[in-house]
Amino acid sequence: MKKSTHPLTARNVLGLTLAMGLLLGCVMAGSLGLGTADLSVTEILGRLAGRGAGEDSVGLILFRIRLPRILLAAVAGFSLSLGGVAFQAILRNPLADPFILGVSSGGAFGAVLGILMGFGFSVGVPVMAFGGSLLTLGLLMALGTRRMGMESATVLLTGVIINAFFTAVIMFFITTTTDSRLHSMLFWLYGDLGQSRYSHLVVSGPLALGGCAVLYAFSRHLNLITAGEEAARQVGVEVRRTKLVCLITVSLLVGLVVSFSGLIGFVGLIVPHLARMVFGADHRVLIPTAAFGGAAFLVAADTLARVLISPSELPVGVITAFLGAPFFIYLLKTRGSRWGRS
């Protein structure tokens, strides 16, 4: 019964990351083939291989409509899932997630404010969203920090309140302005990936990967922080620096995602939890697998949003909330028992 195997190696991590990357690739390929317009497999394959005229309807659907949307879903799922992993570790609470903590709605608030102030969508609005996320984070830290570290129940409750407040402020702005750039209320409140542009993706894609790398560099630090901040310091973790770097990275990612896709909840809750059940609680494997898993999950959810009531479509946040809310209740109910791998 005594295993003398090594618990985790670089090879394990690489293998599992590639496996999750492959899963993401498959989901994206599947998603590319599904939609309101019925495209045959040969048509799609031919177009992907570069055959056929450039700007006919098939090419337009694939490369102007579906692909950017799929890529944005992947980037958003990737980032939100990382946000969940980081918040859950630092708050030592599996119920934490950028949406529940209000970091997402803080970002949306910043984005809406940016639009009203006339900023551009490529730089100004994302920067404002980042500022909004950071502001929320600052509020959470200020209100939730106790002498022995952050008290997670207080932080969660604070997050719920901040979330409600910012959502109300966003509603107020949207209903009282006639600015066409605040195109749809649903976009901000339930998330919508249909506004994807390649110009957004070249910014958010590399930043998401970079953010993942930063968090990964702190993965063993995060492992130790899950056992308590003072306990982590005892073993040699610079807790304050770790928290600062990880939380700022995560708010940047979340702010960015929110400014391009609105409020999409529960991805950061469901995916890290599932990844922990399957791959274990070690952040060296949890961070990459949850990130790619989150990307695959959101691409799948958005595909459902596109095809469920075709030719009309649902905001993707409806799908994630529909799956996420019962999941949250399930987690709440099993709280007090053990988390993660059994």
Binding site: Y216, V235, G236, G280
Partner: protein
């Protein structure tokens, strides 16, 4: 051998309430120092100062002459390890994984535990008699086993000084004895300096080479158990009448409460 960890007139306060004042202590290699005192007398604060988790408001805490607060945490963790009263693992890790976390201060950022780290962890698990359940989940072990796992993690840091905050709290007789015997062997065989905060005055008396008594944040007595653990001192500091006689086997002081 000279002292390795020294407190010079160290003081710490929470708000404007002084928890410790003018405390001077030296911890040397091969020494088991017991810290006794009633609840709220500053014992845990003393250990936190010794591990550099708190910076003193007055005085200095030095490790081999260097002020602890100026050192990076990882460097401190390679020299001083601590086992706290509470440590809650929120997510599931195996016992071996928990002990391997003690290798953190010895590893570079993106490094994975190598065969040497694994060997150190196994040796630590062996020393604490915890190798048998190395694959179990940390949430699935008993209180006594868990305490041994946490000590093993501290040993995996390969420290020179080990600090333990009430390691025998909530343990039954056999496990209490095991923990004290383990500390004794670490001091004798590995030459560690060990500081243990304990409410088990009798066990401390049997095993410690020196004891320190704290009352309201000040050191009131310090020295070998024979001179410190007297009916007068214990009765006064703990505000509870006691009888002290010699242990039939060892002759060390033995405390009995007066009914």
């Amino acid at each position: 051998m000279g002292p390795i960890l020294t407190l010079e007139n160290a003081g710490y306060r929470y708000g404007d309430m002084w928890a410790l004042q003018e405390v001077s202590v030296e911890v040397g290699r091969g020494e088991l120092l017991g810290v006794l005192g009633p609840n709220g007398s500053g014992k845990s604060t003393l250990l936190r100062l010794m591990d550099g988790l708190l910076s003193p408001y007055a005085g200095k805490v030095r490790f081999r002459g260097q002020s602890l607060e100026d050192l990076p945490r990882a460097q401190v963790a390679r020299q001083v390890a601590m086992v706290s009263q509470e440590s809650h693992f929120r997510f599931s890790f195996s016992v071996l994984e928990v002990v391997l976390m003690g290798r953190f201060p010895h590893m570079r950022r993106l490094q994975f535990e190598g065969t040497h780290d694994l060997a150190v962890a196994r040796k630590a698990l062996e020393a604490t008699n915890a190798l048998d359940f190395a694959d179990r989940d940390i949430h699935a072990v008993s209180g006594g086993e868990r305490q041994r796992v946490l000590i093993a993690r501290a040993l995996a840091q390969e420290p020179e000084v080990l600090l333990l905050d009430e390691p025998t709290a909530f343990l039954d007789l056999r496990h209490k004895r095991e923990i004290f015997r383990l500390m004794d062997s670490l001091v004798r065989n590995a030459g560690l300096g060990v500081v243990v905060v304990s409410h088990d005055i009798d066990l401390a008396s049997q095993y410690c080479s020196r004891v320190l008594v704290l009352q309201e944040g000040r050191v009131v007595e310090s020295g070998p158990p024979e001179t410190v653990i007297t009916a007068e001192t214990i009765g006064r500091v703990f505000d509870c009448p006691v009888l002290v006689d010699g242990h039939p086997d060892t002759g060390r002081p033995r405390v009995t409460m007066v009914p």
